[in-house]
């Protein structure tokens, strides 16, 4: 990496971590631990950390009681030809306080099609679901049976809209507020709405880059004049994240 790239990476990583701190503090309060970017070479891990640099969960309170804990981690890499940090992986794990087995996991794996890159895993149990997870004599049920792994509902990867439309940390915070009425601070909703708008627009831009002809057709139908003056490099459909599960 050149010195210019190193500086740019620092700037992007710091900006990303600061944005996440502003989001969580703007929703949950100023006591929420800061996000920090741990960088080595071209890779960065962004999460709240302790003074001795261990990953730290975010305490969530309900009527003043710290009953939930949210771990938020982003693994990012620097693409030297780009001007942004690509998210390789991200996960948000929601725990009941003090219990290591999470309640829900929201996860994203950039290179994954199978299971779907963006998915939710729910840690719960239903006898019928356990039965279904080992019933078939093929695929994942058979592999799970062969490995003698007990069927668990949490092994299911529930798809959530693909790589481009996946939920963000903002969605997870909204989910907790809506379902559990977690404690929030004054002005929280406008903080989330502003950040969510930004997130959705960034993802929309990625989707447009994935399918520019579709975007151009829609714009033309809306009355815009859209002309392409330079040829676009065509990606094989298999490489286009918009069409990935």
């Amino acid at each position: 990496m050149t010195d210019g790239e190193i500086s740019k990476l620092d700037e992007l990583a710091a900006g990303f971590a600061d944005d996440l701190t502003a989001l969580t503090r703007g929703v949950l309060g100023e006591d929420i631990p800061r996000f920090a970017a741990l960088n080595m070479g071209q890779r960065v891990r962004v999460s709240p950390i302790t003074e001795d640099e261990k990953v730290l969960g975010i305490p969530i309170t309900i009527t003043g009681e710290p009953v939930l804990n949210l771990t938020a981690r982003y693994y990012c890499c620097w693409d030297g030809s780009s001007t942004f940090l690509a998210t390789d992986r991200a996960d948000f794990h929601l725990h009941y306080s003090g219990i290591a087995d999470p309640l829900i996991r929201f996860e994203y794996v950039r290179g994954s099609k199978e299971p779907p890159g963006a998915h939710i895993q729910v840690h719960a149990h239903r006898d019928e679901m356990a039965y279904l997870l080992r019933l078939a004599d093929s695929g994942r049920p058979k592999r799970g049976f062969r490995k003698r792994r007990l069927p668990r509902l949490s092994e299911m990867h529930l798809p959530v809209g693909g790589h481009r439309m996946r939920p963000a940390l903002e969605d997870v915070l909204l989910f907790m507020e809506r379902e559990f009425a977690i404690d929030t601070v004054h002005g929280w909703r406008s903080v989330i709405e502003e950040r969510l708008k930004f997130w959705r627009e960034v993802q929309l831009m990625s989707a447009v880059r994935d399918a520019p002809e579709v975007a151009a057709d829609v714009l033309r139908a809306m009355g815009y004049r859209v002309d392409r003056t330079v040829p676009l490099p065509r990606s094989a459909q298999d490489d286009v994240k918009l069409y990935w599960p």
Binding site: M1, D3, I6, D10, A13, A14, A17, D18, R34, F35, A36, A37, L38, N39, M40, G41, Q42, R43, V44, R45, S47, I49, T50, E51, E53, K54, V55, L56, G57, N69, T71, R73, Y75, C77, D88, R89, H95, G98, I99, A100, D101, P102
Partner: protein, 75 residues
């Protein structure tokens, strides 16, 4: 604490060793217990930290030299 912390591969490996010593488990023991969530929350935080370290080390395609240079320049 600074928002961006730079580490060399050596520093990360040292931290990894310290973390395993802190919980008194081998990497494999910690991994296996993490898989079935048979850890305390403190141990789980250690496991998550090690996962992050391994992600960073896995991307170390440039060797220790440049990472040391980056660390020395910014930290």
């Amino acid at each position: 604490m600074s928002t961006v912390i730079h580490k060399t591969p050596e520093q990360l490996r040292e931290q990894r060793v310290r973390l395993l010593a802190e919980v008194g488990m081998s990497y494999e023991q910690l991994r296996d217990r993490a898989e079935v969530y048979s850890l305390s929350m403190d141990e789980l935080d250690v496991w998550r930290t090690i996962e992050g370290i391994d992600y960073l080390l896995d991307g170390d395609r440039r060797g220790d030299f440049e990472a040391r240079r980056v660390s020395g320049r910014v930290r």
